[in-house]
Amino acid sequence: MDIVPLLAAKGSMGVTTAALTLAAVWPQRRGAPVVVECDPGGGDVAARFGLEVIPGVVSLAAELERSGPADPAGPGEQLGRHTQELPGGLRVLVAPTSPEEMRLPLDRLAEDLPRLALGEVDLIVDCGRLEAPAMRQRTAVLRLIQRCGLMVVVVRPELSALQHLNVWLPALRSLDVEVLALLSGRGPYSPEEIASTMDLRVIGALPHDRAAADVVGGASGSRPDRSALFRAARPAAAAIAAVLGRSLAAPVAPTALEEAVP
């Protein structure tokens, strides 16, 4: 159905945790989403939850490379074959830990994910960090973002992180995507203040919740359903779903991304 790319602004950690948490509380009416690790820096989920790296991004990219985009069973089925299940039933397409191993599969996925999303599931894509040195080589990720029509930037509500995001905002807006900010952790600025000052849509604020974040990080513990993190994530997920529900503009033609990078 839809793809929701998540990126972390420089100095703001927790994009993988945010992606897993949003997927865990994703609105029921949109069905169970799949978390896709597209971080050029390598994946975390396999190591966090003690999973094998295959099946995952690598095996899916290899299959796409071999057989081409057409799969008789349908795109959703094809994606489902390569996902792994976390405790509780959340499905994840895991990535290898090494950036080098991630490079080729990422190129393939950036091309094919929009087509795979034609199935019944929403894809929540962990795209790693929003950083200038990496973004020049990250055209695959930016192309993906461009086709999605929106992106969620995880940002810590403090001055340095917000300033980094502010530098990026014109470039991101030039991609003609809707930029949504998801605040993560503690900081001196309120969501309303950030929204009005930066002319940015803030969809929620995830609190610093160590216990729940540990569970999302693959630790054992108590169920996180009623934790502060998950309670805050539910309205954020609903807000993203509401944006998705609107008819999005048709994908625009890729622009020269090198010029977009500040």
Partner: protein
Amino acid sequence: MSNLHLATPPESASRLRPRPRRIRIPLALLGLLLVVACALGFGTILTQAGQQHQVLVLSHRVDAGDVITASDLGLATVSTGTSGIAFITASQESTVIGRPAAVAMPAGAPLIAADLGSIPPPPGQAVVAVLIKPGDAPPSLAPGAAVWVVITTPETQSTGGASSPATPATAPVAATVTAVDTPSDTAITQGVIVSLSLPASDVQTVTTAAAAGNVSLALVPPGS
């Protein structure tokens, strides 16, 4: 933030659960073992402490030397496991009846083995103690042995008196050894004290001869 009021889902279960705890088998086994060991130990102590027995108590006052009869005895329930007191249980009542009290005891006192005197000799029998010099009895005498008590005639009498040879020494008295003790008196350095159970009618003969030192013991087959 304008969309926040839309479709806030109820706090249903999420799609993510904590990773199951890794169970360390050796630790789990150790814990189980500790539980079992503690349960067993505690159970043992509890059953020992809780083991109740019926023991004999005196129903009324008994003076030293009184022979204890069934009417003197009552029952009480105590826990005997950990007290360390040698109570006499109800099942041992038959061993108590007929024995004399060794000390005076008030009513209600529980009986212990040391409260009872030794068993008196049966009717018609008497127990006498005889100092036996070395050579007057087989050295292998032991309690339970059947013996003849032989009254020997002193040599001075047998050679001097005329009547003595005519009347032979008294016929031997059949007796049973009940105890063999070494004398506690340091003045007596030789011989053993033999306790003999014999017919009451022979007590006078034997004790008189024993006082004179004219007694020998002969080991005989039982019943002869």
